[in-house]
């Protein structure tokens, strides 16, 4: 094996630095989209009318059962057919966001279901308003399971962003591929991409644990 440090520092790292920004932006934007989308899907899924809850349930199941990459390609090729032309990055963020909305919806639902039925009944017995019921009783109790699960999806989204390289978004993986193609050297770029993901994931996992403990301590004494 030969690892060239000059190549690493002069060519790979500067390009990777810019690409890391794209990766982080794609991660954050997709995550925010997923948080909001997940809430909407959860509300639809738990809606009283089966005409709303049933399609929502099947949509979630369908999204979860099919590969994100295919969904990205589908959106990428489909949207222009409807006259919508978006930059690949935006299309990719949309696809990752929708995909993870379906996953987050389940997290929210599981979180609310984890609150014992007696708590809802107590709120009715105390004649609390719906707003008060959620704000003071239900949400504080459902946060401890929800927060770490959402954190894990943030990390998962981060690790999904390399898929955007399939539609030529200039994120970390795409840049490593391009460097590889241009200089016929994959070793440095791909290895650094791997280390980048590994280190960021480990840091994120550590942070999630901190937040998890904080939430547990501050809400359930």
């Amino acid at each position: 094996m030969d690892w060239r440090w000059d190549f690493t520092f002069d060519v790979v790292l500067p390009k990777m630095w810019e690409a890391a920004g794209v990766t982080v932006w794609a991660t954050v934007a997709s995550f925010v989209l997923a948080l909001i989308g997940g809430l909407i899907l959860m509300l639809l899924k738990t809606h009283r009318s089966p005409w709303i809850s049933r399609p929502a349930t099947e949509f979630i199941e369908f999204i979860r059962a099919t590969p994100l990459l295919v969904q990205i390609f589908f959106l990428f090729f489909l949207l222009p057919d409807f006259g919508i032309t978006l930059p690949p990055l935006t299309t990719g963020i949309l696809a990752i966001g929708i995909y993870n909305s379906a996953l987050c919806a389940e997290v929210y639902r599981a979180g609310f279901q984890a609150v014992p039925k007696g708590q809802w009944e107590a709120c009715i017995a105390l004649n609390l308003s719906t707003y008060r019921t959620f704000r003071d009783v239900i949400i504080p109790q459902s946060l401890p399971p929800i927060v770490p699960a959402l954190g894990n999806y943030l990390v998962a989204i981060f690790k999904e962003t390399p898929l955007l390289s399939f539609v030529a978004v200039a994120e970390i993986m795409q840049i490593s591929k391009l460097i590889g193609a241009e200089y016929y050297r994959f070793t440095e770029a791909v290895t650094i991409a791997g280390i980048f993901f590994l280190v960021m994931s480990l840091i994120a996992a550590f942070l999630i644990r901190l937040v998890e403990n904080y939430v547990k301590r501050s809400i359930l004494h």
Binding site: T66, L69, P162
Partner: protein, 240 residues
Amino acid sequence: MVPRIAIVIGLAAFLAGLSVATFAELKMFLPAILRGAVVTVQISVLSWLVFMAMSLIAGVARAKASGAVLWLAVGYIEVFRGTSLLVILFWLFFVMPEFGLTMSPVLAGVLGIGLNFGAYGAEIARGAIGAVPRGQTEATIALNISPWNRMTRIILPQAIAIMIPGMVNLTIELIKATALVSAVTLVDITYASVQQNQLHFRTVEIFAITLMLYYCFAQFVRFGGDALEERFSRHLSKRV
């Protein structure tokens, strides 16, 4: 469960109907997609074997081993969970030759997916082993059962029943993840449909078929998993 069976049947009927209705059109791209489906199934089955083997080996090591073996298991799990699958595939296929180890696309794909999912599966296996009541271990000590027999005959059979739901979910994720193997030049369903789309520009039909194929694979695994879970946990429920 029944409605979902209906959906799968409905989808199959829809696919059949579609193929009759637009037979001439489908003839252009369906064969290529089905050839891709064969590759997807091959890679799925092979990498599933690697995934299960690594899950059990690393899971048992993580739960019960100490010293170097434990650290090896922890290292494997953290590294392969921490990196992105696509990066792992690239690394195996494009960087490993630098270390003098050139892999065929199939081998790189199977190893990459298998090792990546094995790391997730190991955590499920570890959790399941930990969920077997402590009394079971104590009973094996009282009966002087050897550590090997304790693990293989007492703990694992019970742990496997506990880990089935998690492993079923991971199996579905694994099938979905095979969509990435075009990165190592394999032409699976996903890549075949991209190619066909670029040739024929029938985005909706092509991707509808592709998505439904994956959906059917997932539901198929789900049924199998439910049946397996039912079979394994029959004797473990508190009261029959």
